[in-house]
Symmetry: C2
DNA sequence: ATAGTCAATTCCCTTTCGGAACTCAATGGG
DNA sequence: CCCATTGAGTTCCGAAAGGGAATTGACTAT
């Protein structure tokens, strides 16, 4: 199977990665979350080639993750902004931050801390059951393949 | 900047992606979470080339995300299992599932549902503040760069 | 003896990446 | 006017990575 067919698989992880799973793409999105919007700034921040950045942005625009909006005329210049679909990637980014903080931080500790505006706490958000509110880990969840999902046997990999 | 230098950047997203940000890698990890452990099965499930699978697994073993354990002798055969570091990627996978379910599901709905063993609820876990327990979205969190983080100005991209 | 299993590895050709230079429209300074 | 600069790309080319298929090697089952 080629990578460009990955979005056709009936699996939400595969489909999500078909859109944001290319190299650099999630870093572009990280920078957009950090408030960078212009091509030039993104390119300098990431150090990626202009060519690749242009291509990634174009794909994200096609997929409605990002929108390209003019911010001046004569000459018309465009900037890139996250759409609602793009903003909804926040949990993905935050999950990566959490993992990177835990397993790859250097001795100086995490480079960025996160403060919850609601209560003021400085701590990474964690996954909780939407129903009962308890924190959940991998072993607490039981996946249930639906009809037509190409039924795969489930063996608990965490046990 | 080349992709293979991305892990050296002082950013947890970049470091995480340096390890699991290659094409196919998170799909390999998805399959490991689904209980697949053997090379042959992974290859058939993913449809990726054997060459690439071998390479990705080797890198994951190097990074201690996966361990290669013998499951028989004569001839010695190995299988691949998630380590604690690997299992800790669950929130990343789940965040991708949630996003894929929401934005890329077809008319038949999500291919897999998740049941919380604790309370029996069938629902995707969501991000909550670890302190106060309230659900959080992108706009609820304020990132605070720490000293030496290459101070970047923060503009709220969701506003 | 022959076929099959499993985990790779090798070959070869195509696609993608990385680095640098170039384009185009407009603006600012001398 | 002439020249340099800015911003957002585009073009070009050699290098690296990916994909498809066949092969290897150590066994096991029939």
């Amino acid at each position: 199977m080629r990578w460009d067919e990955i979005g056709e698989v009936r699996c939400s992880v595969a489909r999500a990665l078909g859109i944001v799973g290319d190299r650099w793409t999630l870093l572009v999105i990280r920078d957009l979350f950090l408030g960078l919007r212009r091509f030039e700034r993104l390119q300098r921040s990431l150090g990626v080639t202009r060519h690749l950045l242009a291509e990634r942005l174009e794909k994200l625009v096609e997929q409605s993750v990002v929108e390209r909006v003019p911010y001046q005329e004569k000459p018309t210049r465009y900037e890139y902004r996250l759409t609602e679909k793009g903003i909804d990637l926040y949990p993905v980014l935050l999950a990566l931050v959490r993992w990177g903080d835990r397993w790859e931080a250097d001795s100086a500790g995490p480079p960025v801390l996160y403060r919850h505006k609601g209560c003021g706490a400085v701590a990474m958000p964690t996954l909780h059951c939407a129903q009962c509110g308890e924190p959940v880990a991998a072993r607490d969840m039981q996946p249930q393949p639906q009809p037509g999902a190409g039924a795969r046997r489930w063996t608990d990999p965490t046990g």
